[in-house]
């Protein structure tokens, strides 16, 4: 009896493992292995034909602490995330509410809000490059038309990060809008009517009913926004290459530079470990602290 059970459970265990195989293979090959390899690499020096790679312990991490560029880039990224995330989410919500209502040419408006999302970031950056270009750019020409002097938007360390942030918000909020729009359309209209009859203003309805009910979407969008704020650097290649003087450089762009321009994969791995750690910490924090407050239907 017992032997039979054991055999049976062994067999069913094997089936289970077999079914897991395809997913596991891909996860290991494309997620776990690279993560572990990156971590391992960060403890070695960069090898060349003349100087083979060797174990250096935490040396790479120590030089990271001394790396001015790293600190500048990290600071940039925090500002970049701190501004793009809340504004793009708020804008997305606002646009979603706006196009969810009755308005003429509604689908046209929806499409026009969504268009930036469909465009590849490289194309977007090229469009914006000509907005920002001094003298002949759209922005400068408009300013000049209004009687102001032009400004070297991307050439000024004080404005360049702001310019990058605007492009990102422009690109992202349309994408997040779609999620909010879908969520809004799943909200029964009677809820708003009921609230109205109870004397609630539009703001009260938004604050007490709509926004709490959109929380699952907000959480989802927020995690995406956080990841994107560290992941989305395509436009830097076109717009600024991180300059002037690293004023618009972000962590991932810096990692790219270190890995493929400086050919220092050891240090790039070190930076990557820091980036992964930060992202993991943020994601965990979001799930632990915010998830409790989210109402899932």
């Amino acid at each position: 009896m017992t032997r039979k059970m054991t055999r049976y459970s062994l067999k069913s265990q094997a089936t289970g493992w077999l079914l897991l195989m395809p997913a596991a293979v891909f996860l290991i090959a494309f997620t776990y292995y690279p993560t572990i390899a990156t971590l391992a690499k960060s403890f070695f020096s960069q090898g060349t034909a003349l100087r083979p790679s060797q174990f250096v312990g935490l040396e790479n991490y120590a030089s990271l602490l001394d790396d001015e560029v790293f600190w500048k880039v990290a600071r940039n990224n925090i500002i970049y995330a701190g501004i793009t995330i809340p504004i793009s989410i708020a804008l997305a919500l606002l646009m979603a509410i706006w196009v969810n209502g009755r308005l003429p040419l509604r689908s046209l408006t929806r499409i026009s809000y969504f268009t930036p999302t469909i465009l590849p970031m490289i194309a977007v950056a090229n469009i914006w490059l000509f907005f920002y270009t001094p003298e002949i750019g759209l922005l400068d020409q408009t300013l000049r038309g209004a009687g102001f002097n032009g400004h070297n938007w991307l050439g000024d360390p004080n404005t360049v990060l702001g310019c990058i942030i605007v492009v990102t918000i422009w690109k992202e909020s349309g994408f997040f809008m779609i999620f909010y729009l879908a969520a809004l359309q799943s909200l029964p209209p009677e809820l708003e009517e009921a609230a109205k009859l109870e004397g609630a203003s539009r703001w009260t309805y938004f604050r007490r009913v709509m926004f709490p009910l959109l929380m699952p979407t907000t959480l989802f969008v927020m995690i995406n926004a956080v990841i994107n704020s560290f992941k989305l650097v395509d436009h830097l290649f076109i717009l600024t290459k991180g300059g002037p003087d690293n004023s618009s450089s972000l962590l991932l762009y810096y990692i790219y530079e270190v890995a493929f321009s400086f050919l220092d994969q050891a240090y790039a791995s070190t930076l990557t470990v820091i980036l992964l750690g930060a992202l993991a910490a943020i994601a965990i924090a979001q799930f632990v602290f915010i998830d409790k407050k989210v109402h899932y239907q």
Partner: protein
């Protein structure tokens, strides 16, 4: 001064007219049912009273004050939605208190009213739950509690029982009616279920295609239907509507051609007889064929044929019909309603004959 007064209310969406010149008055403390098939404009009318739909034309007064274009929140009206419209993220207590908080009612008073209302609808033990943790009937009670706690004189209900099972629906009818009487509320209640209307209403307003077909007490609608539509909509099974014709100078049922059923006839008419007013007899009455029987427990609905005309007969006890058989049917002329075939309107000018 009526609690609610609608005068020539019209609602149009582009080309379609959903509500077409509707006027009625509802007196204080009345339980009025807006009845009709789906698409008849009853819900739209209710929503216009609430202010959730704009009025295309006409005026609406509450207690004599013109409220046609006043925001819903200023009308002091409560409403129970078909879907209950409970806020899923709020507890039962927060749902019930939502309006009071919005209107900044002091905390003490809120607590007092909550206790009272929770008691009234039997939710006292469930106040901490979320709507998703409640049964359909319990959600219904929360919706009622939310409507009641505002202490508005007028409460609108849009098919509030249609999501409940039959048994619960029965119970809730009595509860809602009892609640209304106890709090002396003016209720406008929308339903497509004529049985609900008959059992609950002080007054029924029967609507069809955006117009009022008949307005009156359940009794009046049942006993003196104003139109063929009213006759066929009220009662289960509905009233038999039978075509008549002239044969050898006699006014007879189509295809039967022997028995006089009307004294006179001015034009083509229909006669209406409720199934419960037809009895099956052995030797007298009109010739008929009985085709099948539908046993209901207390009585049986028999499917019959007079001439070419189908009739339903409600007869007490259990009757079994295995194969078609001949029988005779009889009715009293007082139970016969006469309608004009062309307009469908009731006429009193033609008298029926008992058979």
């Amino acid at each position: 001064m009526s609690a609610i007064e609608l005068s020539d209310i019209v609602k149009r969406w582009g080309e379609t007219t959903a509500v077409d010149n509707v006027s009625f008055k509802i007196e204080d403390g009345d339980f009025v049912v807006l009845l009709g098939p789906s698409g008849c404009g009853k819900s739209t009318t209710l929503r216009m009273i609430a202010g959730l739909e704009d009025v295309t034309a006409g005026t609406m007064k509450l207690n004599g004050v013109d409220m046609t274009n006043v925001a819903p929140s200023k009308r002091r009206i409560s409403m129970v939605f078909q879907s209950y419209a409970l806020f899923p993220h709020l507890s039962v207590e927060e749902n019930i208190l939502f309006g009071l908080k919005v209107r900044k009612i002091p905390r003490d008073e809120r607590a007092t009213r909550l206790d009272k209302v929770a008691e009234l609808v039997g939710l006292s033990t469930l106040l901490d739950r979320k709507p998703s943790q409640l049964s359909g009937g319990q959600r219904q009670r929360v919706a009622l509690a939310r409507a009641v706690i505002a202490e508005n004189k007028i409460c609108l209900m849009d098919e509030p029982l249609s999501n409940l099972d039959a048994k619960l629906r029965q119970d809730m009818r009595f509860e809602i009616r009892a609640l209304q009487e106890r709090l002396n509320m003016t209720v406008v209640y929308v339903t497509h279920d004529q049985a609900e209307a008959m059992s609950m209403a002080d007054k029924v307003i029967l609507m069809r295609e955006g117009r009022i077909e008949q307005e009156g007490t359940p009794d009046e609608l049942y006993n003196r239907p104003a139109t063929v539509f009213a006759a066929s909509f009220i009662g289960t099974p509905p009233m038999n509507l039978i075509n008549t014709t002239t044969h050898d100078g006699a006014f007879v049922i189509e295809g039967e051609n022997q028995t006089q059923v009307l004294e006179t006839s001015l034009s083509e008419v229909l006669i209406g007889i409720r199934p419960e007013h037809i009895s099956i007899t052995d030797d007298q009455g009109i010739q008929a064929q009985l085709l099948s029987a539908d046993y209901q427990g207390a009585d049986t609905i028999v499917n019959g044929l007079i001439g070419t005309q189908k009739v339903l007969i409600r007869t007490p006890g259990r009757v079994a019909i295995n194969k078609p058989l001949h029988a005779r049917l009889s009715w009293n002329k007082d139970n016969v309603h006469v309608f004009k075939a062309d307009t469908g309107a009731r006429t009193e000018l033609i008298n029926a004959v008992s058979v």
